[in-house]
């Protein structure tokens, strides 16, 4: 557990945040929401506030980039209005991030060196690590893999941000032997996958760590269970009602069916675990499925290699058609057996689709 916070320091930190356009109220609200998401009591929100203010301009963060596209940095940094998370992360003394730092070359290398000597820093990694040949990614004239090992040695916590850093992501499908951070280093790593990730996932995890000095509960894939393992994209899908009725979008050009279930357009939500449909992206503007795009399953370790093709139906020709409970059945038989059937039918269908996806993944692996 961290040391208690001096009230004067807390006031200074809150004023600093206020000067950046984050009001005291919205900051406390954000921290309380982050605590609530981890299932903590509401007073933990205040503890998160204290932990965050204690870390302002003190806790150094090193942000390394490997084989990535900087999309995760941008997801964090280029929101329309600077969000609470963005300002906070900016203030937790971001020492080394090549996308946003003003110094370059020797000066930035010196900053990295000094921070390494100082110790007690958080390490965030974006982008995968090539293993087929270390020359596929070079930073400061060094192999990225070597740099990562060197920097992670003294890091108090290592966070793999984005699917590339967590599991290999899109580069894993290529020839560079791209791997996730946890496959390279021996330390415990928190995976925050997503292509790109939602900044709330990263900032919430950091808040939890700053307060309790330990990593949050992780699911089987090394992700914070509060954001990933405890959720199932299918359960909170805004189109799940159409799914239950068996109404699937078949033709993108038909204006009458735009809101229908996207499963036959390759939606990967039956195998995807995240809270996307609850929290939404871009400061809560929207989420993929609400915006009309099938879920690509980007937070899953199988992404992208084993989930492609992304926009093809999971049903092979000749497979039995998916059925739901039709509107007629509902109105005629309500509230008798049909409704019961609907409740039972939906999970069976989801399991069926997940099974089909798994089967095809194995077929791809076997080279069929």
């Amino acid at each position: 557990m961290r040391a208690p916070v001096d009230n004067k320091e807390k006031e200074i930190a809150l004023t600093k945040l206020e000067m950046k356009g984050v009001s005291r109220r919205s900051f406390i609200k954000y921290c309380t929401a982050a605590a609530a998401w981890f299932g903590l009591n509401y007073y933990c929100g205040n503890m998160f506030v204290e932990a965050a203010t204690a870390a302002v301009q003190k806790k150094p963060v090193i942000w390394l980039q490997g084989q990535g596209c900087t999309g995760c940095s941008c997801s964090l940094l280029s929101s329309i209005n600077p969000g609470v998370g963005e300002v906070l992360l900016d203030h937790i003394s971001m020492r080394f991030n090549t996308t946003i730092m003003s110094s370059a070359g020797e000066v930035s290398a010196k900053i990295l060196e000094d921070t390494l000597k100082e110790g007690d820093y958080l390490l965030v990694v974006e982008g995968s690590i090539p293993t087929a040949d270390p020359r596929f990614c070079m930073v400061e004239g060094k192999y990225f893999e070597e740099l990562l090992r060197e920097v992670s040695d003294n890091a108090v916590a290592v966070i793999a941000a984005g699917t590339c850093a967590a599991y290999g992501g899109i580069p894993k499908a290529g020839i560079t032997g791209a791997k996730g951070v946890s496959e390279i280093i021996d330390k415990p790593v928190v995976n925050i996958p997503g292509c790109p990730f939602n900044p709330n996932w990263l900032v919430g995890t950091l808040l939890y760590y700053l307060n309790f000095n330990e990593l949050p509960a992780l699911d089987s894939e090394g992700r914070p269970a509060a954001y990933f393992g405890n959720h199932f994209v299918h359960d909170t899908c805004p189109r799940v009602g159409y799914f239950e009725k068996g109404l699937f979008l078949e033709d993108w050009n038909n204006p009458d069916t735009v809101d229908w279930c996207l499963l036959k357009k390759g939606c990967k939500r039956p195998v995807t675990h995240s809270d996307c449909n609850r929290v939404w992206f871009n400061d809560g503007a929207n989420s993929c499925i609400r915006a009309g795009s099938p879920c690509a399953g980007c937070v899953q370790p199988e992404f992208y290699k084993d989930l492609s093709p992304l926009y093809a139906s999971p049903l092979a020709p000749g497979e039995p058609e998916l059925v739901g409970v039709t509107a007629e059945q509902r109105t005629v038989d309500l509230p008798s057996a049909a409704l019961g059937a609907g409740i039972v039918a939906a999970p069976i269908i989801v399991n069926k689709v997940a099974e089909l996806m798994k089967k095809r993944k194995e077929e791809v692996k076997d080279g069929k």
Partner: protein, 63 residues
């Protein structure tokens, strides 16, 4: 007197970049810039469903 300047990493860009320049009497006589990361996105999209290609290629640069 030739003087070689190496700037690595170049910051405020997407990805990794290295610039080497040779300066003689205040004039740059030779310079080269190197992109120091390779992901093989071209090979990844080979033989894939064409509808996947925009999804992958938009990840070339996320800035």
């Amino acid at each position: 007197m030739a003087n070689k300047i190496v700037i690595d990493p170049i910051t405020r860009i997407e990805g990794h970049m290295r610039v080497e320049a040779t300066v003689e009497n205040g004039v740059i006589t030779d310079a080269r810039s190197v992109g120091t990361v390779f992901r093989g996105l071209e090979q990844i999209v080979l033989g894939k469903d064409p509808r996947d290609v925009p999804y992958v290629t938009e990840r070339v640069c996320g800035v």
